[in-house]
């Protein structure tokens, strides 16, 4: 079940992109999500992510991410709506609460909370897309050019994590057979029984680490300067995707300067789209950011196109 949350090679277009190109693209999406405050622009970003996640065949996993996101978003909306005092359009006035004062809900506070929730969904979706399309080893290979030891530690940690999860489950079963109860008891008792698990896991990991170190030593690790095995090629598709993202970023900076992508929530809601330029700006940003999704669509349907990019 959990493997759906991690990268799985499906031979997709987005998975074939150069790690530098896809990482830059995702970084730009993240920056724009934090930059934009205009709900329409945020929805535009979410639309781009929906297209990409669909191209990455990750709809099912994304649904789970959204459910988790909703768990965070609902309390944000409720608490912000109840506590924010900046809005002038009061739609509900409640009782007086000691310390907090009179509870009121304004239209502005609800809209602000909703926009922040969309931003949260965007960030979660970027994370989801990253897991769907970026092979962790490729990122580490990219990183190893600049920080080889850090990359190696990360690689080892990534590799050992699934086996440690498996080992943890095995230890838990062994302890259950020996009468350790993980289900019942108070918090202290549960912590105590789980401490046994961690204890065994640490003991075994320490022993294992010596063997891994020996195997690395036998393969000349630490015997002198290392070279870096870079097997990724930069293709036209990487240039198109990165180019689209850079153009979108440029337009976003313009939109930020001109105020198209910003929005006044308090004290009263401002205008969503100030003029036609704001609309065109948004459309072009969405189009440029959709280049990977569009290329992915063409890649699946047209072998000629496939060969050319």
């Amino acid at each position: 079940m959990y493997e759906n949350f991690f990268y799985q090679d499906k031979g997709l277009f987005l998975q074939s992109l150069h790690p530098a190109a896809i990482l830059a693209y995702l970084c730009i999406l993240l920056v724009l999500a934090l930059l934009f405050s205009n709900p329409v622009y945020l929805v535009g970003l979410l639309l781009v992510l929906v297209l990409n996640i669909s191209a990455a065949q990750g709809g099912e996993v994304w649904g789970i991410y959204l459910k988790i996101g909703l768990g965070f978003a609902l309390p944000i909306i409720i608490i912000n709506a109840l506590l924010a005092r900046g809005g002038e359009t009061i739609i509900w006035a409640g009782p007086n609460i000691p310390v907090l004062g009179r509870l009121t809900i304004s239209l502005e506070a609800i809209c602000y909370s909703a926009a922040m929730s969309v931003r949260l969904f965007i960030v979660i979706s970027i994370f989801c897309l990253y897991n769907l399309v970026v092979h962790p080893d490729r990122v580490l290979a990219l990183l190893s050019r600049f920080a080889s030891k850090t990359a190696l530690i990360l690689s080892l940690a990534t590799r050992l994590f699934p086996s440690m999860v498996r080992q943890m489950a095995n230890i838990q079963e062994a302890m259950m057979i020996r009468g350790v109860d993980f289900q019942t008891g108070n918090l202290k008792q549960k912590l105590k029984s789980h401490a046994v698990l961690i204890n065994i896991l640490l003991l075994s990991s320490l022993e294992d680490s010596l063997e891994i170190a020996e195997a690395m030593h036998a393969r000349a690790f630490g015997s002198g300067p290392r070279s870096s095995y870079q097997r990724h090629v930069w293709r036209p598709r990487d240039s198109f995707c990165l180019g689209g993202a850079i153009l979108a970023f440029g337009l976003a900076v313009c939109a930020q300067i001109t105020g198209y992508s910003t929005f006044e929530f308090y004290p009263r809601l401002g205008c969503l789209l100030k003029n036609t330029m704001a609309v065109f700006n948004l459309v072009f940003i969405v189009v440029f950011l959709s280049v990977p999704a569009v290329l992915s669509w063409g890649w699946r349907r047209c072998p000629y196109f496939n060969a050319k990019i």
């Binding site: 079940m1 990268y7 090679d9 092979h135 962790p136 080893d137 580490l140 290979a141 190696l152 690689s155 080892l156 990534t158 590799r159 699934p162 086996s163 080992q167 095995n170 230890i171 079963e173 062994a174 259950m176 057979i177 020996r178 009468g179 350790v180 109860d181 289900q183 046994v196 204890n199 065994i200 003991l203 075994s204 022993e207 294992d208 063997e211 891994i212 170190a213 020996e214 195997a215 690395m216 030593h217 036998a218 393969r219 000349a220 690790f221 630490g222 015997s223 002198g224 300067p225 290392r226 070279s227 870096s228 095995y229 870079q230 097997r231």
Partner: protein, 559 residues
Amino acid sequence: MPVFQCEDLTYFYSEREKPALKSINLHVEEGDFLLITGGSGSGKSSLARALAGLIPYFYGGRLRGRVYFDGRDVSQIDRRLMAREVGMVFQDPEKQLVMTSVEAEVAFGLENLGLPREEMVRRVAEALSFLDLAGLREEFTAHLSGGQKQKLALAAVLAMQPRVLILDEPTSQLDPVASEEFLNLVKRLNEEMGLTIILIEQRLERCFHLADRVVFMEDGQIRYDGTPGQLASWAAARDIPFIPPVASFFARNNFATIPVTVKEGRRLLRQNFRYCKTPPVRPVEKKDTGKPVLVMDNVWFAYPGGREALQDINLRIFPGELAAVLGNNGAGKSTLLKTMAGLLKPTRGRLMLDGRDLNSEKRFVPGRVAYLSQNPNDYLFQETVEEELHFTLKNFGLTDDGVVNEYLEKLELIACRKANPRDLSSGERQRAALASILVTRPRVLVLDEPTRGMDGRLKDELGKILSGLCREGASVVLVTHDVEFAAVHATRVLMMFAGRLVADGPKKEVLGSSYFYTTQIGKMCRGFADGVLTLADALASLELLWPNRKQKGEARFIT
């Protein structure tokens, strides 16, 4: 000039008084296939590490004498050059893979050597193609099977283009099919590429015949160094179990030429026994008696992903039975054991223990079926062995009525009762973990591959302990890939395939009629004396054919 030469090599691990290697004198010629065998703790792995230069550089300790590689003292050779010339594959594939993907793993050693990119790309491609791993280039190493992982470890070493390949029990964690494939690859490397191979092994059925020379080690010393046939004669005369059963059979019967394969063994049998009309030996099997202690009726189990690991299992386990479950990886053997132990709940069907329906219980109730997983380390964390047993008793709210001493004695752990279980040898760890689950006196004991990585003597000790428990009325069910162990110690054999039980019966019936899942002796005797599975059976059959042959001096066979 030999590729390796050891001169009076003695080595002590740090803070150890007893030497791991004692006055070793050995030479290995270029292109040799050398097999080093011996029991656990005999010094095999230490010798391999000394040859690879890991001793003393990685382990520290004290070393006397010299190890020469190509006439140069290993201690004077640059580590990078040594790693390039001498590749080493270790026992556990899980503990030698570093990177997350297959391709990156193969490139890891090349990066350490500082090779240019173009050279690395070519070598990675060659190594992956040679070992038929090219299709898995982008695969996560965590997703590979045990056999694939070990092949990957070999590919990663081969990419460094070594002249010598040292393999330290590379098949101990693999199933028989993967082991066979791996050893065939190693043989190809020796024959087609001329690589010098030094193989450390204690399960000899599959590799004895591959070697040009066999070295037998005991107590840190080389006891014998000769051809496989010579070693077989020498070991058989001294009752040393480190020879394959076929070789042992002929050596014990004074054949001048000792065959080391089933094919050669059958040829000798044909020459000597063709006119034999004596009926095959079929010892009487004990029938199932009494009320079953564990009943599985139409049991199904499906994992959350939907994979049906158990399909319609119908099984009755009787008191005093030692049942061995055989089958390929993924057949559902471990799932069967966990279901018996109550760790997994059947998705359909009925599981009864002592007449009580376990399906009706909402939560796992421990103490009724003891389960020992593949890794005894999962059980051990206390300061002493004795405390491990007390820990289990305490969890069940039981007091020590002498049960701790009883099981320490039964499992021969009295001497190390105050020792830290993590400091024990592999066999002792296994017994300590076993004792920790037996103190509740369960009626059923289930074990998952308990003989993995054990030498012949330790396996025999374990077999005797389990048989002893059965004689006292306990039922033992164990999963194993070790057909030889099952043939000697089990009373009943179950075979699984794709989640189903495909065979179930007395061992002679199941193993005797199986074409692939049978012992080396069973394969050799097929057609001559059906139902003969073990060395003891074969020797008994011979005694029936030629009674008193030794006294009459008739031990003259055509060879």
